[in-house]
Amino acid sequence: MTLRNRWRKTLSYCMLSLTGVCAVVAVSMLFLLLGYLVYNGWRSVDWDFFTKLPKSPGETGGGMANAIVGSVQIILLATIAGLPVGFMAGIYLSEFGGRTFAFLVRYMADLLNGVPSIVIGIFAYAVVVVPMHINSALAGGFALALMLIPITARSTEQFMNSVPQTLREGALALGASKWKAIATVVVPAAYRGIATGMILGVARIAGETAPLLFTSGSSDYMSTGFTQPTASLPVMIYYRATAPWEDWHRQAWAAGMVLLFLVLLANVAARLILSRGIAVQK
């Protein structure tokens, strides 16, 4: 009996330690990943990287200025198109939604959210690239906006739902109409959460590669508008890393480090915004 109890205790101790090991392994992935990127990339992130155009294949040197500008263009387009639509849809879902239609929209948003990003790329290709006959920042922005809309809609809805009902009732009791109550009471009460959701959404699409492969395409030159093939940082990383040249691999590491740094920075900033405000109570 005591032997059995000792066995049970040992088993308990072993299994619980094992779960700790699992957690440490999972978290160490993040640091391994960061460490490898910084180790391989930091030497190549110099002034040239941000200011020079890419050299032709096989040559050493050059930078990714065009990809940085292109990424900014594409993300800007996606943000301008995606955030307002997602935000308004989120307001509808949280404040005006009836039973069946809101359920349908919610379901479709989740569905769109789960669609593999490469499939979004196919759709954007068929809708924007085929009629225009050319890859463009516009098509890339469209594809990323499609990914941003459902993310923003659902996070906006979620944070507006967590605003206490009494706040709405208070505003209505003071004679405000419903939209006024929403605009002056509910949205301000939830704005930290909404902003967090938006930043996380933009950070998520900023690193997307698959939907850009055949929508914005790639280019070795600085793009001067929104209707021509445009380089972007993630796509550039992909092509640089899979090419056979040593020097391009070096640039892929550097670009990866810069991209990851920006994405993680946005994530940390978003969470700081959320944790500092207690405007949203659960």
């Binding site: 049970r8 088993l11 308990s12 101790y13 779960t19 700790g20 090991v21 699992c22 957690a23 392994v25 999972a26 978290v27 993040l30 990943l33 490898y36 990127l37 639509v85 308004m88 849809a89 509808y92 404040e95 005006f96 239609f101 809101a102 349908l104 929209v105 479709m108 948003a109 989740d110 569905l111 769109l112 789960g114 669609v115 593999p116 990003s117 490469i118 499939v119 979004i120 196919i122 759709f123 068929a126 109409s177 939209w179 998520r204 690193g207 590669t209 698959a210 492969l213 055949f214 395409g217 990383i237 992909y238 890393a241 892929a252 990866g256 991209l259 990851l260 994405v263 994530n267 969470r271």
Partner: protein
């Protein structure tokens, strides 16, 4: 009490009420937000329609044979999706095989054992891990995981388990096993964070009751807490699976790009997403292009089903009252 009064009250006429609502702006606001919400509906329906229409050619030409043929030859105009479906399923299964025990273990640690402070810091790191773009996982997989698999992991697997067809054959570094491993790392954060939430939702009484009956800490966790949260955990696994199925960039960079079926996990293969990423922009001819779109449709349907299952399971756990076990 008030029913008689309510029944006897005259029904308000609809038209003035609507006018009133229009005047104070509520109806306008509702309609505007409704329009934006409908755009989500429109986009999703448009996406499905577009995928369906653009894949008409191979659907008519090959029918269901598209799904069962393993011949993919753009030159002779033969398109069968089986090697890609096989690659997608195998790599995702490898990913789950690694990520589920690791993820559930980590989730148990974070929800049951770790002090609140450590738990929240770890959870923060796990969420950051989920935010890493997939192309960056791809770069790491290509330059660090591939040599590691080629020089150490796969030779030792071959030495010990080489009698199984799964672990035999030539070693390249690129292939199902490498792709599955990077997918495991990528799905891990999703499994951990959702499983952790499911475990945190388990009422404390459940733990206390088991401990009061003389269970050890582990027995209480494994026999009273984990079964209670099983639906949420399964939901997290399906969500991870959906991610793994649709993952493109990292897999494309390490799968080896060989459109045929191999029994060996060391062999190079192909996944649906990788095929689209690699071949879409250079596809010549409508049949080739549309076959790739049909691959996209297959992937889309696959992820929809898995996602729906995941959501059902997660909803089922959050709605369940604490009375049931």
């Amino acid at each position: 009490m008030a029913t008689s009064a309510a029944v006897s009250a005259p029904p308000p006429s609809r038209a003035p009420a609507l006018l009133q609502r229009l005047r104070n702006g509520d109806e306008v606001a509702r309609l505007i937000t409704l329009a934006f919400a409908s755009s989500i509906l429109l986009v999703t329906v448009g996406l499905i329609y577009q995928l369906w229409v653009t894949s008409a050619l191979p659907r008519h030409k090959f029918g269901f044979g598209f799904l069962t043929s393993s011949l993919w030859n753009p030159v002779s105009g033969q398109f069968g999706a089986l090697p890609f479906i096989y690659g997608t399923v195998i790599t995702s299964l490898i990913a789950l095989l690694v990520a589920v025990p690791l993820g559930v273990g980590a989730a148990i640690f974070l929800s049951e054992l770790a002090p609140a402070r450590i738990s929240s810091i770890f959870t923060f790191f796990i969420e950051l891990l989920a935010a890493v773009p997939s192309v960056i996982y791809g770069v790491l997989a290509l330059f660090t995981l591939v040599p590691l698999m080629r020089d150490y992991v796969e030779p030792s697997l071959k030495k010990t388990l080489g009698f199984l067809p799964l672990f035999s054959g030539p070693i390249y570094g690129f292939g199902y096993l490498t792709a599955g491993t990077i997918l495991a790392i990528m799905t891990l954060p999703f499994i951990i964070s959702i499983s952790r939430e499911a475990l945190l939702d388990v009422p404390t009484e459940q733990r206390e009751a088991a401990l009061a009956l003389g269970a050890t800490r582990w027995e209480s966790t494994w026999q009273a807490v984990v079964p209670y949260a099983r639906l949420g955990i399964f939901g997290s696994i399906f969500l991870g699976l959906a991610r793994a199925l649709g993952e493109t960039m990292a897999v494309t960079m390490v799968i080896g790009n060989d459109p045929s079926i191999h029994a060996s996990l060391f062999a190079p293969g192909y996944t649906i997403a990788a095929a689209i990423a690699n071949q879409f922009s250079e596809a010549t001819g409508d049949l080739y292009l549309q076959s790739l779109v049909e691959l996209g449709l297959v992937l889309f349907l696959l992820t929809i089903v898995i996602n729906a299952l995941a959501r059902l399971l997660i909803i089922a756990t959050t709605r369940r009252g604490s009375a049931q076990s």
